[in-house]
Point group: C3
Chain length 318, copies 3
């Protein structure tokens, strides 16, 4: 089954069977990463350009490893060091790079919607690697892959998301994806860190984490950006930690088989205690491992699509 | 025909048949960039080192894509992050890297002549990727390739260069190359932005762009560095734009088949208006596409020369 | 003979036959670097991650060239640009990267012992590329390789180390390695730049370089960090240069066949004069060339070990 989309911009756009197809592909590619020779020729001769207008080591490295294990050539353009500093527009930078015949752009940008605007203006495949407070679809997909791997299903599970949901593209992509896949999503945070449209998104709200824990199959802890305190959205990190931090005694209120997730990087002792982050219920490092597999799947499907389109064009021209 | 030169330092050095050989090679390699698998094994096992002492995303990425599509391994040394900061001389840095057995150095430096001085001190091939206000030969070559592609010839054409010619290595390489290939070059700019030796270089001067436009087959617009205003070389960007900016009404005075070029990055609304930059006569993005092809040709010819020299040495030693 | 170690952390740990095995391997791999096609498929599909928490162009590039000539895929994480800035611990960064299934970490860190602490917490092979004032084993190995290449032996040679031994991981690794291999090591520096434990390390001390020179087969000159003057450990660079700088007249007191080494980058005119650095007795650039060979050997042996371990595990599981 060839993937029909040119771009992967967000989980909002995807149908259930498309999400299933991406996750199936990721599960089948995952095994490559534990071989002695971790490389397949699938994307040989393809050009993948990372366009990161926000700093990111973790996501960029994950995409880069995924691309090179599929034999693609990769290039990295950082927003700060690029021609942007000479006053060039974002679209001009993109059009210039497009003229060098790349196959896939992987774009991270602080402006919500930036990858969408660019994708509409280029024939090159665009993968959104995080846009503002909007979406981070590869993170949502790797989180769903990890839940599926550990729980065997998504449908009917209760996923508790704890933390700064209002500012989190990770939460947003998870909510959109989990809803489609039939999971029940409960959000828990101080009111200042909750968005207004949660009920419209099909999310239940709970202000006391201890009340929400007993029902949860999955506890997804979000990173707390320390700048939220300067923005007066929080009294203090210590207060947040006491009320919402997931520690061992709090985790004891959840089911024994509940899993604990975190998109990283972890603020140890703030939103999660070290013994929980490193404990038997934590699947944080499985998320990282699955991140490479999900990104291999996305690059494979985008690259395959490109080949299919090119092949179709060749056939037409014959 | 093997290329005899160890280095590509400037268009001043090249004979007409050498320029033709590079452009022929570029035209024949260009097609690789539109294949589904954009990679040939020509430079497999070759080591290409980017030594950029001035920031550049655009040119470095173009060279890097060219090198990897020929299967070379590439390394990037930035002037600011290198051992230079520890007080090492430029020549010591080069000698150190030379001892790691690279095949080609691609050098950008703010000092005019720096690549020439280094090339004389190393057996490694040196490609000048821009030195001070001196030369930018790969840009000159890609511009000539684009003109040739669009106009079918260089000989007898009138090329109008508009802008800050005094400080432009792009203009300098183009003037040197176009003169050799039989084109007529006309320069147009405020007197403060024209070099003194233009007539010696065989260039005609015109201070009013509107008078020069009707004759032009090619209008090459140069980027205006905004720092020229601080240097008191310009009254204001707005004044410059009014007198020398290429906009739609001004372009209407040129031939219908005249093409508009710009080396990028574009200052939209200063030296060129958006409707001209994106209009039907603009070949700005073709220049970028041809840039990869020209750089593939240079790397191929330098790398081939290296192989030829090594093969010759092996034969001698037998 | 498969290499049994998971990690290469320092020369203190290694037995004589292990050092000999690494150097033998380096001598046999060195020839690859002068081939026309400088690439072998030995580490194809292996993932090598550079984790540099101190800036280094020279050592990183040497390791990177070594890795790519063995066909490994490499990734570079700089300490300053990484998630560390978001408050993540060093161990969390490592565990995250570990979850992406790399084969080898190459770590440089300003804290002595950092690579050792990490190596104990990860199944991934760790190569120490320099830790604080502790060890720089690949430098010690490339120095021994160069001495062996030029002198035919290490046993019984007198190696004079001149300079800031107290703060030098290069000196420390050389002392540990040379001692094991049977060389006599003499240290010469102002008392403020000598560590207290030299005699425990089996090193003879000499405060006057002119007295030590006549006996030396090898003169190893260390780089003088200019910050030592601000730390009041030196009266002035000029004074240091007069008393300890290796210049032509001073070198005339040594044997004619004595070789001069320096780990680079060189402070010309401070610890070494230009005519000595570039003179016939200097082997400084041979050190750089051998650096690539030694790093190829380390990566080959670590990568091979990894394969052997994986193969052993597969056999067990059958």
């Amino acid at each position: 089954m060839p993937f029909k989309r040119k771009d992967l911009l967000g989980l909002r756009d995807l149908a259930v069977d498309e999400i299933e197809h991406i996750l199936d592909t990721a599960f089948s590619l995952k095994e490559i990463n534990t071989r002695s020779i971790k490389k397949v020729p699938t994307l040989r001769g393809k050009t993948v350009i990372h366009l990161f207008y926000e700093p990111s080591t973790r996501t960029r490295t994950s995409f880069d490893i995924a691309a090179k294990r599929l034999s693609a050539d990769t290039y990295s353009i950082a927003g700060s060091s690029s021609s942007m500093v000479k006053g060039e527009t974002f679209l001009d930078t993109l059009k210039n790079l497009e003229s060098m015949n790349p196959d896939i752009f992987i774009i991270r940008h602080s402006a919500s919607g930036a990858p969408h605007r660019l994708a509409a203006r280029t024939p090159v495949s665009v993968i959104n690697a995080g846009d503002g407070m909007h979406e981070h679809p590869s993170q949502g997909l790797l989180d769903m892959m990890t839940i599926l791997e550990k729980k065997g299903r998504l449908d009917g599970l209760t996923v508790l998301i704890v933390g700064d949901i209002a500012h989190s593209r990770v939460a947003r992509s998870n909510i959109l994806g989990l809803n489609k896949m039939g999971a029940r999503v409960v959000a828990c945070a101080p009111p200042t860190l909750l968005p207004a449209d949660l009920s419209l998104m099909g999310v239940e709200v709970c202000f006391k984490v201890d009340e929400a824990l007993p029902d949860a199959d999955v506890i997804m802890v979000l990173r707390l950006q320390t700048e939220r305190q300067q923005q007066m959205l929080l009294p203090s990190l210590r207060e947040y930690s006491i009320c919402y931090g997931i520690n061992r005694s709090r985790l004891a209120k959840a089911r024994e088989d509940a899993i604990v997730m975190h998109p990283g990087p972890v603020n140890r002792g703030v939103e999660i205690s070290p013994d929980v982050a490193d404990g038997p219920q934590s699947v944080i490092l499985d998320q990282v491992t699955n991140g490479v597999a999900v990104r291999m799947a996305l690059l494979y499907l985008m690259g395959q699509g490109e080949s299919s389109r090119a092949a179709a064009q060749r056939e037409e021209s014959v």
